[in-house]
């Protein structure tokens, strides 16, 4: 039994269902998902489009609430929380990395990175320090004052990773983080995730590409709203 398996669970989903309603038509995107992710794990959630993996990502990221079932994140039940409390949970527990980077173009790199700390109520001096440290961590210590437009796609995604790291969240939730990157930058970012995981970070990666998913230590396949094959990646 490895250290990862003995660590306390960060994410516990049990019997999670999510139904979307559009007029009279009901669509069940998640049909009973049970999933447990422990601290320090590197998990890839994989599935074709329409499989429900995006919905799963929204639920995991506390961006959407479940219709049925329970979701515990870092020991806290989140299915009953209101908007403001969900915002607090996202701020503290989750570091997002999006496919489209989602940096604010008018802000410099460190201003983008400090945003989670702004909403956490951290003072200005400390914010700048921690943002600079996070940018150094992803190898962009010399780009603090550059705006996203002045950085390459790979560098922008590194800034986004720095932003995900800066608040010391429970997990990093990456949604197709390499979808907009060329192969060099993809390797670059995946290498970064590997480093972070080696340093003990919990990483959940959502992707539809097997090559990307194979970098994780555990692969969760989603199909038609159900987990079909919880399995360890063959080492």
């Amino acid at each position: 039994m490895s250290a990862e398996q003995s660590a306390p669970p960060v994410i516990e989903l049990s019997g999670v269902r999510k139904t979307y309603r559009s007029g009279a038509i009901e669509f069940e995107a998640l049909r009973g998902i049970d999933l447990e992710i422990r601290g320090g794990e590197y998990v890839a959630i994989m599935g074709p489009s329409g499989s429900g993996k995006s919905t799963l990502m929204n639920v995991l990221g506390c961006l959407d609430v479940v219709t049925a079932g329970s979701y515990r994140l870092a020991g806290e039940d989140v299915e009953e929380l209101d908007e403001a409390e969900l915002a607090r949970i996202r701020n503290r527990e989750i570091g997002f990395v999006f496919q489209g980077f989602n940096l604010l173009p008018s802000l410099s790199a460190w201003r983008n990175v400090e945003l989670p700390l702004v909403y956490a109520g951290v003072g200005k001096e400390e914010r700048r320090e921690r943002a600079a440290l996070a940018l150094e961590r992803v190898g962009l210590g010399d780009k603090l004052d550059n705006r996203p437009g002045e950085l390459s796609g790979g560098q922008q995604q590194r800034v986004a990773v720095a932003r995900a790291l800066v608040g010391e969240p429970t997990m990093i939730l990456a949604d197709e983080p390499t979808g907009n990157l060329d192969s060099v930058s993809t390797a670059d970012v995946l290498g970064l995730f590997q480093e972070l995981n080696d340093a003990g970070r919990t990483i959940v990666l959502i992707t539809h590409e097997l090559e990307v998913a194979q970098h994780a230590s555990r692969l969760v396949r989603v199909k038609d709203g159900l987990i079909v094959e919880p399995s360890a990646v063959a080492a």
Binding site: D64, A87, N91, F96, F98, N102, P116
Partner: protein, 410 residues
């Protein structure tokens, strides 16, 4: 997210669309400038009117001939009636019957052409008595006023207003010169100091001559004995209402009228004129301020419109901020602050424009404009309030955006 951050972010957002923000606040800018100018104009005009009425003379009662009573019971003077006579004016000077009246100056005014050195000038020629100078609170720049002897002898002497003298001679030091009034030659004995103009006439464009001369030489005929106005000066401000009563009693008796409701003259006081003028200008000010307020309303709708555009444009940013942990109230405050900055920006620019207007406008329209600190302060407060009020709807919309929908927006 603290206030410094909120203000910084909101200011960046406003500044990043500088031109759009400027155009947006134009409505508020114009509205605030208009409010400041209208209030200033109202106060200024009120001040002017008070000064003009004061310039008529102090403790003054004005008796006008004729009186009409309309269906609503309102009474007013009837300008063309000739019910007042020189004898009426003489009776008012009685120390016995009118102890509170200090001076009486009847005026018989007619518009005539004056000619001197081939220069023609038409002005209002006033016939009066020697007390005119005191009662009307006028002073002489050159020479002296005509005397009681001049009145008794119907002497052909005249005192000119400063403007009349300037029009005829090009200067005011014209004592001893002669001027032809309606073909009769008059000697100029004095020139009046400038007194400006009152609400109905230019006090500096006059020719004042003895009552007897005007009545008999210039007018003559059946209307010779009538006068256009009788000015009465009360001995003091406290005696004004007593003087009013005495004048009314004497004139009613002389005209054989028993009820004051049927009087064929009307007496008005300076105070009444001031009150009337004040109430007229207050009404005007309120009306104009109302119109200016409409412009503020339009400006506010402009702010709301652009804030809605801003929310739509920045849906993705809102989604991202929410994903990173911004609670709904922080987003709402963000957009409210932005709207308030737009409002205040318009207010400040409008106040500057208004202040500039109070400096420039008097030169253009010739009326005083008072820059009222209360109006400026109020306008600024209102402009912020407008920003916030019209920002509530867009800000609430932003706060309610679901983060997943917002993030999905391209």
């Amino acid at each position: 997210m603290n206030w410094t951050e909120t203000l910084h972010t909101a200011w960046s957002a406003v500044r990043s669309h500088a031109m759009r923000s400027l155009l947006t606040v134009l409505g508020i800018l114009i509205g605030i400038a208009a409010v400041i100018l209208t209030v200033g104009l109202g106060l200024g005009t009120q001040k002017d009117v008070s000064a003009q009425i004061d310039s008529l003379g102090s403790n003054l009662l004005i008796v006008s001939p004729g009186s009409t009573t309309d269906s609503s019971g309102m009474r007013g003077g009837f300008g063309t009636a000739t019910t007042l006579t020189q004898a009426d004016a003489a009776a008012l000077t009685s120390d016995v019957n009118a102890p509170d009246i200090a001076g009486v100056a009847p005026e018989k005014t007619t518009s005539l052409a004056l000619e001197a050195n081939d220069t023609n000038w038409t002005t209002s020629v006033t016939g009066t008595t020697v007390s005119w100078l005191d009662v009307r609170a006028r002073t002489l720049e050159y020479g002296s006023f005509f005397t009681q002897d001049d009145v008794d002898e119907a002497a052909k002497v005249v005192v000119l207003g400063s403007e009349t003298a300037t029009e005829l001679f090009g200067r005011t030091n014209v004592v001893g010169q002669s001027v032809e009034i309606d073909g009769t030659s008059f000697q100029i004995v004095g020139v009046l100091d400038s007194a400006g103009s009152d609400s109905s006439s230019n006090l500096d464009d006059v020719a004042v001559a003895p009552m007897s001369t005007v009545a008999n030489v210039l007018v003559g005929g059946t209307s010779a004995a009538s006068v256009s106005t009788i000015y009465i000066q009360a001995a003091s401000a406290e005696q004004l209402s007593a003087a009013y009563q005495e004048a009314q009693t004497i004139l009613l008796n002389r005209h054989g009228i028993t009820s004051s409701d049927e009087a064929d003259f009307s007496i008005s006081s300076q105070e009444a004129l001031v009150e009337t003028a004040t109430s007229i200008y207050q009404t005007l000010t309120i009306l104009l301020t109302g119109i200016a307020a409409l412009s503020l309303l339009v400006g506010g709708i402009g702010v709301m419109n652009i804030m809605l555009v801003s929310v739509t444009e920045r849906t993705r940013e809102i989604g991202l901020r929410k994903a990173l942990g911004a609670p709904p109230w922080a987003i709402r405050r963000q957009f409210l602050t932005e709207a308030a900055i737009l409002g205040l920006g318009g207010g400040v620019l409008g106040a500057l424009l208004g202040a500039l207007g109070t400096l420039v406008l008097p030169a253009i329209i010739g009326s005083s404009v008072v820059l009222s600190p209360a109006a400026v302060g109020g306008a600024l407060a209102v402009s912020i309030a407008i920003g916030i009020v019209f920002g509530v709807y867009p800000a609430t919309r932003a706060a309610r955006l679901a983060p997943i929908d917002a993030l999905r927006t391209e």
